[in-house]
């Protein structure tokens, strides 16, 4: 499918962004989606606010965070994701990324 607006936001201070981007690209490939991903390095608090950066890494699909938070606080920080099994990880899981992509596709159809 073409046309999903996929943005990957990261801070260089958080070491796992390359792995997260690789994970995102892998899932996009598996889902047969247009592989275009815009990658942004967030360097200032102002950028964090403007780009809706909840911490590194943040993935936005059609403007929607893959793990939306009820009280978002945009900041230059490493991000904690709560995984399906309840553990905390600095990376979103493959399932979380896949679920968000499929949900975005459904909304468009």
């Amino acid at each position: 499918m073409k046309g999903l607006d996929i943005r990957f936001l990261y801070s260089r201070e958080c070491p796992s962004y390359e792995e997260a981007l690789q994970r995102l690209r892998q899932v996009i490939k598996e889902e047969g989606i247009d592989p275009s991903v815009e990658v942004f390095e967030v360097e200032t608090r102002e950028q964090a606010e403007k780009l809706r950066f909840l911490g590194s890494p943040t993935i936005l699909i059609d403007g929607q965070d893959i793990d939306p938070q009820p009280n978002p606080q945009y900041a230059l920080t490493c991000r904690a994701y709560r995984l399906e099994d309840g553990r905390i990880s600095p990376l979103p899981s493959v399932e979380m990324i896949r679920g968000a992509l499929r949900s975005a596709i459904e909304k468009r159809s």
Partner: protein
């Protein structure tokens, strides 16, 4: 880069713990190994490794090991790293080790850690024997291939050399004031 090299003596400290008591490196003269981990509340890498820190203390306490966690982060920019929040975290996660507050960052400046978590493992004579990460997989405890800290502890407690005395750090940067 850390101020300690393998073989260097531990730098003493006296810090307030979440139990509202002052804790000192000198409190553990009978221990066979002491692990100082620069840690904090907010960092997702620490949070991913926290349970393993508790497990390691639990598994090695009977062998004379003492883990000590120190939070040196700037709580004004990272309010989750405040002292009250440290108390909550220690309670919630059932920390079985002291969790100390380096409010002035004096101890962090002395040790010069770069990341959280960052391990400094000392032997019975408080000489540094291992410096680095807890293991090689913050993301999945079941996928760990190299249990760096455990392996270092096994060596230190057996009076042997640590085969990997320094490992790559993975974590959040220390939040300096």
């Amino acid at each position: 880069m850390a101020n300690l090299r393998i073989g260097d003596k531990a730098i003493p400290f006296k810090l307030l713990g979440v139990d509202d008591k002052i804790h000192s490196l000198g409190d553990y003269p009978s221990k066979n190994a002491v692990g100082v981990i620069f840690s904090c509340n907010h960092c997702p890498y620490v949070r991913a490794w926290e349970d393993r820190m508790v497990q390691i203390q639990g598994d090695y306490a009977g062998k004379g090991f003492q883990l000590i966690a120190i939070n040196s982060n700037d709580e004004t920019k990272y309010p989750d790293d405040s002292f009250p929040k440290m108390k909550e975290r220690a309670r919630e996660r059932k920390f079985n080790f002291p969790y100390l507050w380096d409010e002035t960052q004096e101890i962090a400046r002395a040790y010069s850690p770069e990341r959280t978590p960052e391990v400094f493992l000392f032997d019975k004579s408080l000489m540094l024997q291992y410096h680095g990460a807890i293991d090689d997989n913050y993301d999945d405890p079941k996928a760990v291939k190299n249990h760096y800290l455990r392996d270092a502890l096994d060596a230190v407690l057996a009076g042997k050399s640590v085969s990997m005395p320094e490992t790559r750090l993975v974590g959040c940067t220390i939040k300096w004031k």
